[in-house]
Structures are given as C-alpha cells and as structure tokens.
Amino acid sequence: MSAGTNKIDVTVTDIVPLNDLVTRFKFERSDGELLPTFSGGAHTVVEMKDGEVSRLNPYSLMSDPNDRTAYTISVRRDEEGRGGSLFMHRNVKVGDRMTISYPVNLFALDLRAKKHLMIAGGIGITPFLSQIRQLDYANGHFELHYACRNRALGSYVDYLTSAHPNDVHIYFDEMKQAIDLENLLDGQPLGTHIYVCGPAGMINWVRDTAEKLGWPREAVHFEEFLAPQSGKPFQVELAASNKTIEVGEHQSLLEAIEAAGVDAPYLCRGGACGQCETNVVDYDGEILHRDHWLEDDEKQSGKKIMPCVSRFEGKILVLDR
C-alpha cells in the first residue's frame, strides 16, 4: 500500500455541466467531517464501480485548497477512452456514494520561485485553478497562458479572465491564436518557474524550447496523466505471489494485478509518479512502455515496467510482484 491508497468515502453533492465536453463534480465527506487540506496541483484518484469493472482514474483537484468542506474535479468526456470519463458523465448522479483517495501532489508549486509562469492546454487548466487560489492567499506572482479550442469549450475562461484580468491570457485555436512561446520565455525575470499541463505535444514543445533557451530543468514543471490504453490481452506470471493472471483488452496491467487480489503500490495511475515501478524477472516478447517515468535506457533494458500504463505483447512476462 502507499500514501495515495488511503481512502475517503464521499457523496456527490453537485454536478455542473460546463460545456459539451466538461462536467464538474463536487464531493463532500459522507460522514460529514472535513476533508484533508491539499496543495495546489494535487490530484485524487476516483474509484468507479461500473458493474463488474472497477476503474481508478486520477483527476486534479480544482477547488480552493483551504476549503475543507468539499473537493471539486472537472472531467472531460473522452469517447475514445476506456470508459472512466463516460461513466462519470453518464452514470454518476447527485447523492451517489463514491470512494476517492487522499490528495497526492505531483505538480506542486515551487514556492522558492519569484514568479510562476503557467501554461495550460485544454482540460490541463484544472490543476492551475487550485494553484492560482493558493497563490491568491500568499499574494503570489503568476501569469497564466491558456490555450483552448474555442470560447464555448474553454472551461473556466470567463471565471479566470474576470478574476485575474491582468494575469490571464487566453488563446483560441479556432481563431488561429497561438502562444508565442519563444517571446514569452525570453525576458522572464530571474527566478521564474514554468508549469505546463496539457497534451503531450504541448508539454514537449515547452520543455524543449525552455531547454534551448537555457532554462534549468529544475525550473520547468509539467504534468500529463496518461490514460492506460487498451491493447491485446496478455498473460502475466506474478513470481512473488505465485499467480498467473490474464490482462484483458480494456484492462491495465495494474488493474489486473489488483483484480487478482495482489497488493501493488500506486499513486497517480498515469505513468508519472514512479510509485508502481515493477521489476521484470523474465520476458519473451515486447514490453510496450508508455510511461513518463523510466529513462530510455531503463526501458530498453527490459528490467522494469510501469504496470499502470504499460502493456506487453509476446509469449512470457514474469514480474517480481
């Protein structure tokens, strides 16, 4: 077990559709007590009981970190995904009891920064909402650059521009507006930290540009949750627990290990945190690495796998679990 597996029983107390794709959910503790505080950028893992299938998806907490009465998350509907977001959109009703994890922060503000430069793409806006609230309390210095498809799909655009008219800059793709990144990064005062959350292409673009301009790695923070992708079913031997399990087409390796009753560590379930890193004892085939955690040489070595997002194709895979 790990820190993020401490559970909280909550009740859904509000559901607000924001636009065609995004809906906001509010959770309060079912026992009426207060929730733990969290820091801006933290996420919670929401457990969804969809009939026989159990799904655990991470969502950034976007409410005020100082408000312990409720947590809110915003869920973007993903028609192509494995069904977690569709379940949230279609099946979850006000009054439902759900289980969420304690908050975990893999995308915290570095409070040594003199200025926080935030870059968001689409639903990647959510962690910044709680970070900005946190900075409000401390009178922190930030600037947000938020790119989204159009005004209708720009979640929280109106709120952000009215609350922080001088610090928030919006870019609509459909109006051919784009972040002029080199110009934006050039001339930032010493001590500025970059935070980027959005699609992989955006994260890589920001990281590469910052590196080229001489920004230290330590001043560039990013978060991208990968959703586990579906793939061919495969069989895995769990050496330590002496079990052989099947991983289904739409199931992640981690979910299959859990379904077999084997306790496996995890935090983010999105290939980012490194908590579920597992040793590969033996394999004959191809490990399909899909995480952001392992270094390239570790991926090539065939000795490690991140079961939350990575899969396998081949004859034999034996894990030390």
Binding site: R112, A113, K114, L185, D186, G187, Q188, P189, L190, G191, T192, E211, K212, L213, G214, W215, P216, R217, E218, A219
Partner: protein, 202 residues
Amino acid sequence: MSTFEFPPSITSRPVWGKLEPRAGKSHLMIADAEGAEALLKLAQADGSLMTKAHIMYFPGETGDTYIGKLEELAPAQLYIGPSYEAAVPRLRRTLAGAHMGLQVYLTGTESLMGQAMREATDAGIPHTAIQTEHRGSVARRMQCVHCKGITENVMTDPFVCSHCGLNLFVRDHYSRRHAAFQGVCVDAEDPGNVPPPVELYS
C-alpha cells in the same frame, strides 16, 4: 596545476564540478585567482560563449598573471575587481536585471563559489543549475558556531576564531545560507587541551 581532488566526505560538504558550455541567452562567469584557468578552458571548449559573457574576476594574489589572457577572450563585459566583497553590489545589480536563460559559472576558491552561489540562489536560480569548478587554494571560509563570526582563509585545523578567540575544529559541515563551513570549539570539555594545528589536506 591549480586543481585539487577533495576526498569524499559527509553529504553536507559541497561537491564541485567541471565547467562546461551550456545553452543560454547570457552567461555570468565569476572567478577568483586560479579560477581564471577554468574560464580559459571553458572558452576553449566554446568560444562563442564569450560574445554573451559577463566575467567578474578577482585576481587576488595572482596579480596580473591571467588578466591579459582573459582580455584576449574578448568577453562582452570584463570586470576586474580588488575583492569579491567590493563587487557584491555590482553582482546584485547584475542579477536583479537578469532574465531566465542566464547561465552562471563559478570557479576558484570555495569561499568565492559559496558566496556567489548564495547570491545567485537568492536571485532565484536553483542551486543545482549553477555550475562550479574548484581551482586554487583550499583555504576555507569558516563560521564560528559560538559567536557566529566568519573567519576567512582558514588553512589549519584547529584554528583560532578571529572574532571570539575560541579554538575551533574545522568541520566539513557546510551551510549554503552562510556560505561557510562550521567551526566548533575543540577544547570545550578540557580548556587549553588544544591539538597542534595541522595544515588542511596536508
């Protein structure tokens, strides 16, 4: 040769690296005495750095030895000053006006690197992003943990605190905030029982 291999020690003790050219919008290079040699080597590795470089150099006892060679590098700015202390206002002004994309290179004595590192981290650069290379003297900048006074250029262990006069043992315990190693009274339990001073790393 101006280099010295420090033996492995406790984690608190700073570990110095080797300067290497890095991509950047501008380059701030701060050196004292034999630290000039590391800058000359850096320029050899990538001469184009110098068109965007500001060098602050304190020759100290090396006098004119390296000044001509540094001038030949033709950096965008070359400041040669009598001491680091006298240049602190200049360094703070430089950092206050600097932008992200600035690379910082520190080379020379531990005292210089430690103090310049403190200014650079106060200005918001993560300490792990600042390059260093030790050159020249192994003398230490020591803080007396009792009176908090700083004694510069400590070459022996133990030594006498220049402020309160206690006999201090030279520790590898380092403070980034003070940019100094810690000196602790060596004869507190048995006053007067002071081991004979030994030169550092001799």
